[in-house]
């Protein structure tokens, strides 16, 4: 075997421009990706900020004054805070109960229950809210109807068109966020910690209360904040359940500002405090979590033993199924019933059965076909571009390719706490006039979805990259591959399942998006969620049910396909 001549050094000696000599040829890609995401975030937020400070007379604080002396607007803020607080509390209760039961006890049928939690997570809250109007409308709602005919009572059991009803529905679709945080932490607590208490004489319930619970406290707080922020940003559920009862929230109020004559300045001024509040909450969370050293929780985790529920095993299972029937079984059942019947409130007999809703939704109603096409086009496009950009960004921060990549993470993750409707206000202002006019096309929705879903795609790919040893990639580079080539040949193939998961998370996120879409669509660029919302305003119950089932079916198909391709459960059991 011959040893090479001087080729290598010759290459190094190759004359190049002095300044460029040492420049990594892939650098423009990284700088480009970073600049792109910063632009994506800064333009809409900057637009909101600037717009909130101007009216016809020029620079002014008048908009803030207008917004914050108007009683109705203050009421909307107050409503939102109350709702979000209780949603946070209830979501933490349900989420931590299920998270603990599924990771630390011998509850039966865990896999199926996880799948049901997943289903709650995938169900768009506006669809759940719609289903609950059919279930628990005070007079015609089926549950109330049954209750009255069973008990002969005059008053309804439960009126969904109230603050309580709204809180309830938002909570049952927010708890999966808390669940996944708690389940992850519980998975990491080793039994040693619990055994230590056991030896000192604590019984198993006492251990759960005094050891396990405090250890999960940071996750509980984090879960509360996530659920709080999630409910803060929801638009569909409060619009469907709150407005009929005269309850405005911040998001519905912002939406109302867009009605003719549009008050973009007020919408912007209304958005800024919301933005500041969410940033404040995140900062608070960081601070509170940072102070306590729960390093044991993050340890490798010794062996885990499951708490025996004993006699309570099946009663507890029943309780769990009861909770999940609120978010999954009952709503899905009523949607299916509404889709297949002429009159949704009557029993689904042969006389009442019809395919007409499907025919109407898919063929007669003019908007649907274009909207379905738009939705899937946008879903695929956003998921693909989003995964690609997220991959590049996660790569930058993971390998610290650029100075200040820590701050880059802040920009990428920012949309997580920006309510979709606020983002949409910014995008609407930014992209309705030159130099970049995107309004009126699906591209403005694309930009909105890309921005909104970036944190999810990023955190997925980031954690995947973290698990890939950098030396695998260094080994590629040292024998002659540049960074992009290394990424393509080694890192991406190894990150495959994580990237597929990121893709499908984004896709599912996009097809259910309503709160940003509702401000950004035009008749030419409608999406399914907007069509559902339009149909709701017109009371087209059967057609809504059909389209809702379509959304759910596609989401579940994607999940099944991913699990089949990747060969494991990438959604619920995240590591």
């Amino acid at each position: 075997m011959s040893v090479p001549g001087t080729t290598a050094v010759d290459r190094i000696r190759e004359p190049r421009g002095v300044g460029l000599r040492g420049v990594d040829p892939t650098l423009p890609v990284w700088i480009g990706a970073a600049a792109f995401v910063i632009f994506l975030i800064l333009l809409p937020l900057g637009s909101i900020f600037v717009t909130s400070l101007y009216n016809e007379t020029g620079l002014t604080l008048r908009n803030y004054l207008d917004v914050f002396i108007e009683k109705a607007y203050i009421k909307a803020i107050w409503n939102t805070l109350i709702i979000s607080f209780w949603v946070g509390i209830i979501a933490v209760l349900i989420g931590s109960l299920l998270g603990w039961l599924l990771t630390r006890t011998d509850l039966p049928f865990k896999k199926s229950i996880r799948a049901l939690v997943m289903a709650s997570f995938v169900t768009p809250p506006f669809l759940g809210a719609f289903a609950w109007t059919l279930l628990a409308g005070p007079n015609a709602g089926l549950l109330n109807h049954w209750y009255r005919s069973l008990t002969g009572a005059e008053t309804p059991l439960f009126n969904i068109f109230t603050m309580e009803g709204l809180i309830f529905v938002m909570a049952i679709y927010s708890f999966p966020y808390v669940f996944s945080m708690i389940a992850n932490v519980c998975d990491l607590i080793s039994s040693d910690l619990e055994d230590a208490a056991n030896i000192l004489g604590a019984n198993k319930w006492k251990i759960a209360l005094t050891i396990t619970l405090p250890l999960t406290a940071p996750a509980l707080l984090g879960g509360f904040i996530v659920a709080f922020l999630h409910s803060l940003s929801l638009f569909g559920a409060p619009a469907i359940l709150g407005l009929p009862a005269g309850i405005h929230t911040i998001t519905t109020q912002i939406w109302a500002f867009f009605q003719y004559p549009p008050r973009l300045d007020l919408a912007a001024a209304f958005s800024v405090p919301l933005l500041l509040a969410t940033i404040g909450l995140i900062a608070l969370q960081k601070k509170m979590l940072g102070r306590k050293g729960y390093s044991t929780v993050g340890g490798k985790g010794g062996q885990k033993r499951l708490l025996r529920l004993g006699m309570l095993r099946y009663p507890v299972l029943l309780l769990v199924l009861g909770i999940l029937s609120l978010s999954v079984f009952l709503p899905y059942w009523i949607l299916l019933k509404a889709a297949l019947s002429k009159a949704w409130a009557l029993p689904l007999t042969w006389d009442n059965f019809t395919w007409k809703n499907f025919a109407f939704a898919f063929f007669e109603y003019g908007d649907t076909q274009a909207a379905i096409l738009n939705t899937f086009k946008l879903g695929i496009l956003t998921a693909t571009v989003g995964t690609l950009v997220a991959t590049l960004l996660a790569y930058i921060t993971n390998r610290q390719l650029l100075r200040g990549s820590r701050y880059l993470t802040f920009f990428i993750m920012a949309p997580l706490v920006i309510p979709g409707i606020v983002l949409a206000v910014g995008l609407f202002i930014a992209y309705t006039h030159p130099p970049i006019v995107l309004y009126g096309t699906i591209w403005i929705l694309f930009v909105a979805y890309l921005t909104k879903e970036m944190p999810i795609g990023f955190s997925q790919t980031e954690s995947t990259f973290k698990s890939i040893h950098p030396e695998l990639e260094d080994a590629t580079r040292i024998i002659g591959a540049n960074r992009l080539r290394a990424l393509k040949d080694v890192t991406v193939p190894l990150a495959r399942s994580g990237l597929i998961a990121a893709w499908s998370f984004i896709f599912i996120g996009v097809i259910r998006e309503l709160s940003a879409s509702i401000l950004l669509f035009t008749p030419k660029s409608k999406v399914v969620s907007v069509v559902i919302f339009d149909l709701k305003e017109e009371g087209q119950i059967g057609a809504i049910a059909v389209l809702g089932i379509l959304l759910l079916a596609v989401s579940f198909l994607i999940i099944l396909a991913v699990q089949w391709i990747v060969g494991r459960d990438v959604f619920v059991a995240r590591n």
Partner: protein
């Protein structure tokens, strides 16, 4: 089986061509080249879709894109697109006549004199020739006879204020519906805002579209509708749902819903053709027969089970006033009812 409708169609076309409708062949030709007409309409989904299909059968090759939404949303769309310089809409139709005063004032409408409208009464025509009343309906009271006995049912607007209806009434929203906008203005002029102030005490269920109360009443979710599009109540009733319509003696708000062509219409010829089509006697008759609407066309006949307009005390409102008081009405209504 297939032949007969085609045959009827051909016959209809012949009748059209021969008498009332001597449309310039040039417009049809140009419209076919444009191949498309985009219609922003507040006419109920089923009705607008049916009308569009009717048109497409008549003029194969010209596609009607229907965008149905509430009147106020239609206006919002039109204005947002105008502001952003997007040219999408050809034909605009809402139930809020005030919108057309506004759009006309902003120079967003095309002046056009459809031949079909020559025969329409003055109340259905803009004096400057920018818009025409395509249909008319009433805003009425309705109740569910399965839940509310006829003798207990409200007969007048004032009856709705009775405390026994607390939690049992539904209203549509003037911030969405032009019909309700018209309804509120008509009643405010008749009995004042105090009426709505009192009404709000009954904790109404608030829906958006003037068509939506029909479903809410029929399902029994709220057995009494304090307003709503009469034609949609009528259609729902005809489908066998438990609904009874009340035409209050104090007066019934009459809602004339204009149609106009956008000044920036990307398909102006198709828009003209479509406008001729929807104002033609045959289309207007279809609206009366199939949709339960009233029209401005003097030759159209109406179903026997519907009252004749001339037998009712009608409350008409002025389009200019609708335009001027639009914001005020939305704001006060929202203040009273919460959303």
């Amino acid at each position: 089986m297939k032949k007969s409708p085609n045959f009827i169609l051909c016959a209809l076309v012949l009748i059209w061509a021969s008498n009332s409708w001597a449309q310039d062949a040039g417009v049809i030709e140009a419209a076919k080249k444009e191949a498309k007409v985009v219609w922003y309409t507040s006419l109920a989904i089923g009705s607008s879709t049916a009308l569009a299909h009717f048109f497409m059968k008549k003029y194969p090759g010209i596609e009607v894109i229907v965008n149905r939404n509430g009147s106020q949303r239609v206006l919002q769309m039109v204005m947002q697109e105008a502001t952003a310089g997007i040219k999408n809409v050809d034909v605009i139709h809402t139930s809020d006549a005030g919108h057309f005063v506004l759009l006309k004032g902003k120079g967003l409408l095309l002046q056009y004199a459809p031949k079909a409208a020559e025969i329409f009464p003055a109340g259905f025509k803009d004096r400057d020739g920018f818009y025409y009343g395509m249909r008319a309906t009433l805003s009425v009271i309705a109740y569910n006879p399965k839940i509310v006995a006829d003798k207990d049912a409200p007969k007048t607007w004032k009856d709705l204020l009775n405390g026994k209806w607390s939690g049992k009434e539904v209203t549509a929203h003037p911030g969405y519906s032009g019909i309700i906008m018209t309804h509120v203005l008509a009643l405010v002029k008749q009995v004042g805002w105090e009426y709505f102030q009192d009404l709000a005490k009954n904790k109404l269920h608030i829906v958006q579209s003037a068509n939506d109360p029909a479903g809410v009443v029929a399902s029994g979710e709220r057995p009494v509708g304090v307003n709503g599009a009469e034609y949609f109540y009528y259609k729902t009733l005809k489908q066998g749902n438990p609904i009874k319509i009340v035409y209050p003696k104090e007066g019934v708000p009459l809602v004339v819903s204009p149609t106009a062509i956008s000044a920036a219409a990307p398909h102006p010829n198709a828009a003209k053709l479509f406008t001729e089509f929807i104002l033609s006697k045959e289309s207007q008759q279809v609206l009366a027969d199939k949709e339960g609407l009233y029209t401005g066309h003097p030759e159209v006949t109406y179903p026997k089970d519907k009252p004749m307009l001339k037998d009712l005390k009608l409350l008409a409102v002025d389009a200019d006033e609708l335009d001027k008081r639009n914001a005020e009405i939305k704001k006060r209504f929202t203040e009273l009812f919460g959303a």
